[in-house]
């Protein structure tokens, strides 16, 4: 059992549960948060390609199973995001916190705006009010920025405890 995909996948499931509970309590106030962008940075910047792709595929399928989006759509989106990260990561400071947080914020923005396009025609129905889109996006990015370092630290600590050499992973490309 390769911990390099199990730990990111398990961490993303935990993230989905925490975000789901937060949205349960935010529902009476008419707002919600989306934190899916947090799934990408550790897998994209610290791990080699294959375990990262597997972790993103499983995370995306888990996201699709809970929502009305087409099954596999978020998986393809996350895998594509991971491949983009892998192709540009030699230009980034891969073990720096700033790069991780910026990548997470950008990835979250892309995932947020593409959700209705993944839903098999969700956008064909009544579009949400601009105020709702701005409020949810702003709230999501603020919560993401606040929780990012904690979430990345959990994953990296778990990987190190399970015997993964993160320095060796940085040198590997596959």
């Amino acid at each position: 059992m390769d911990p390099r995909w199990i730990i990111p996948f398990a961490a993303n499931l935990l993230l989905a549960m925490v975000a789901g509970e937060a949205n349960h309590y935010l529902a009476p106030y008419g707002c919600s948060i989306l934190l899916s962008g947090l799934a990408l940075p550790v897998a994209g910047l610290r791990l080699s390609l294959r375990p990262g792709l597997l972790a993103m595929a499983l995370t995306g399928l888990a996201m699709d199973a809970l929502g009305p989006t087409a099954f596999g759509a978020n998986a393809v989106l996350l895998m594509a995001g991971l491949l983009v990260l892998h192709s540009i990561r030699h230009r980034l400071v891969r073990d720096g916190a700033t790069a991780h947080v910026v990548v997470a914020l950008l990835a979250n923005l892309v995932i947020f705006v593409t959700q209705p396009m993944l839903g098999g025609g969700l956008f064909a129905y009544a579009a949400p009010t601009p105020g709702r889109i701005v409020m949810d996006l702003l709230l999501s990015q603020i919560v993401l920025a606040a929780a990012a370092l904690w979430f990345f630290a959990i994953q990296e600590r778990a990987l190190v405890l399970w015997g993964v050499n993160l320095t060796e992973e940085l040198r590997n490309h596959r």
Binding site: E21, N23, Y29, A65, Q115
Partner: protein, 276 residues
């Protein structure tokens, strides 16, 4: 001329191959995988819901006996009035059956009431759904209507072993046939858009021109029973604004839904009773 390097494009080509292969995977395999991934996360959803119930129980334990006695007394009065209403409804039901026999009308749809706790609310920017703690094990079918004391909640869209997903009436993906109370002419209701920090909303289209409503004199919106999903006469919301549509043939407007939709704790699924 230097050779073109394709090694950086190889992973993207591989992703393209994976996507192509995924598109030709049979639907039954995708459905099975979707159900599996949902059931993988269902224990966490249900567990969090049970934890909330436990938290509520222990917070109620801190209340004084006098508070509990007063609450019990108020509930007893409410129960007494409901029991009277139930007796009246039973009389009306028998009268309807007698008239159906006399006039040889087809019988009305009968339902079994399945009460379920709400495990999770998913009210994001693009859709509004809830997960309830009853599923296939309790005989819940896909497409069953869901109601609460304030009227329509939504419709069951997915059924799993011990959980089900309900598409809410305030979701932009929900469309119903509706009419104004006291009228029989149907028109279209659609959920959303829902602004932040406001009660849930909906909109109506193809409303006849002789129907008027505004915030000072709203009209109650109810189900028509067309389509055979929702029984007729269930409350959807209040039409608070109507204006002529661009073509001038009908009106369209805004509907305010019950505020309690955003904070539901318990709902009732109407399971159709099929007579074989």
């Amino acid at each position: 001329m230097p050779k073109l390097r394709f090694d950086q494009a190889r992973p993207f080509l591989l992703l393209g191959v994976v996507v192509g292969a995924w598109l030709i995977v049979p639907l039954v395999v995708k459905s099975l995988m979707r159900a599996s991934f949902f059931e993988l996360q269902a224990p966490m959803i249900a567990g969090a819901s049970y934890t909330r119930d436990l938290q509520d129980f222990w917070s109620l334990r801190t209340r004084s006996k006098v508070e509990m006695i007063e609450a019990g007394r108020d509930l007893a009065r409410l129960n007494a009035s409901y029991q009277l209403s139930v007796q009246q409804l039973e009389t009306l039901r028998q009268e309807i059956r007698r008239l159906e026999d006399v006039l040889r009308l087809p019988p009305r749809a009968e339902f079994r009431f399945e009460v379920a706790r709400v495990a999770r609310r998913d009210f994001n920017t693009w859709w509004q759904r809830i997960v309830i703690r009853k599923g296939r094990d309790h005989g819940i079918p896909v497409g069953a209507p869901v109601v609460f004391s304030g009227g329509v909640v939504g419709r069951i869209t997915e059924v799993h072993a011990y959980t089900s997903v309900v598409d809410l009436v305030s979701s932009p993906t929900m469309r119903l046939s509706a009419t104004v109370e006291g009228d029989t002419r149907p028109f279209a209701f659609q959920g959303g858009p829902n602004p932040p920090f406001r009660s849930p909303r909906g909109s109506v289209e193809f409303v006849p021109l002789d129907i008027f409503a505004n915030s000072a004199a709203p009209k109650k919106l109810v189900t028509t029973g067309l389509g055979g999903v929702f029984p007729p006469g269930l409350t959807i919301g209040s039409v608070v604004h109507l204006e002529p549509s661009t073509d001038g043939l009908f009106k369209s407007g805004q509907v305010f839904l019950d505020q309690r939709l955003s904070a539901l704790i318990e709902v009732t699924v109407l399971v159709p009773i099929t007579t074989d």
